[in-house]
Symmetry: C2
Subunit: 222 residues, 2 copies
């Protein structure tokens, strides 16, 4: 990995974002900066991953919300493929879960799309130098996340569930009663209740309503 530190060669950047206009905005912004060079851009996550591995830019600006493969998945895939450059998530979402998930998955920064261009350039420059960058408006949110982590060490984790339990959870999160879930999956209501009981215990939740709300917020429904 080549890391530009001073008035050497410019730092190379790539942007993966499904909004052509936003890409154009970023491109135009970077043209004005001598020490930052945009070497690639695409709106397709798959293509973006391949391109990043080929061009090996110092930094990848990665949209979190894209159709199909989402940004988080792309981030994981980049890391798995041993891409060693910086990856900065670039998104509209200031949801705590998104930020935390991105950072846990190895993101080197998290910038919001509504930031001012000048700030953007400054942050990108810092990121290219290897510093972690986070939009200022997210600091309070991060503090909150840390506090929650302390108080609730057992964050619900979808991966602790079995296939069947996930299936039950999805139905539950669409508002169905145990009886209707049973009818739909062609098992008895009693069995559904067993699954619900188990998934509530695993997720450390206290009712199906909590489970439904959590599932919807996490996008586990449908």
């Amino acid at each position: 990995m080549t890391l530009t530190t001073a008035n050497d060669t410019p730092a190379t950047l790539m942007i993966i974002d499904d909004h052509p206009l936003l890409r154009r905005g970023v491109a135009q912004l970077l043209e004005l900066e001598d020490d930052l060079e945009l070497v690639g851009e695409t709106g397709d996550p798959e293509e973006g991953i391949a391109l990043a591995l080929k061009l090996e830019p110092d930094l990848v600006l990665l949209d979190l919300n894209m159709p199909g493969v989402n940004g988080l998945e792309a981030l994981r895939r980049l890391r798995e493929a041993n891409y060693s450059g910086r990856v900065v998530m670039f998104t509209v979402s200031d949801h705590e879960d998104d930020v935390v998930a991105a950072l846990r998955n190895g993101a080197d920064g998290y910038l919001l799309k509504d930031m001012e261009p000048e700030d953007m350039v400054r942050q990108l420059r810092q990121a290219a130098l290897g510093r972690m960058v986070i939009s200022e408006s997210l600091t309070a949110l991060l503090a909150e996340a840390l506090r929650n982590q302390r108080n609730a060490p057992t964050t619900p984790d979808i991966h602790s569930l079995t296939q069947r339990e996930r299936e039950i959870l999805q139905q539950l999160a669409s508002g169905l009663s145990n009886k209707l879930i049973a009818r739909k999956l062609d098992i008895t209501e009693g069995t559904v209740k067993v699954h619900v009981k188990h998934l509530l215990k695993k997720l450390n939740l206290r009712s199906r309503v909590e489970a439904a709300v959590w599932a919807v917020q996490e996008g586990i429904d449908h």
Copy 2:
């Protein structure tokens, strides 16, 4: 209102979007077009409304998802203030409800931010001429919305609820039981049950789980 029809004076446009980079992308795009002129831009909805009323552009590109006053609210306020130009919603959201709500509130178009720049210019030109423009990928969705409208004339409507019922719904949508809601709002559990019963009837839902899921999906929680 001045409506540019031919090789006359260029059509005037305004953009209200809280993403400076995207505004820059649009601005650059429009500079290349002789018949489209960007006369104003801002990231603040309030300022945008005032500016639109002052400049009276032929067309306002309005972001649906903005902090504080949202785009739908801005649209309503523009219409109430008798702004007679075209208003085209410009957003990342392809949620059926958002599209339908925008059109019901008098939007003249609904464009997705991930569209290609060339399409964008073409669509804006059409819109400035008074034609309704909708991103192509949304046509199927609109057909769906129309069908649902036929089959389910009683779509849940938050506005049919009283203040107290909305309050109960919010608590419910955070996963609380009737008992806990009662404790939190300092009323008896029986009263909470009455409110829940009423709001379920008004929303035509069959359980608190359905209500919670709906509320979360609609963003009514918190």
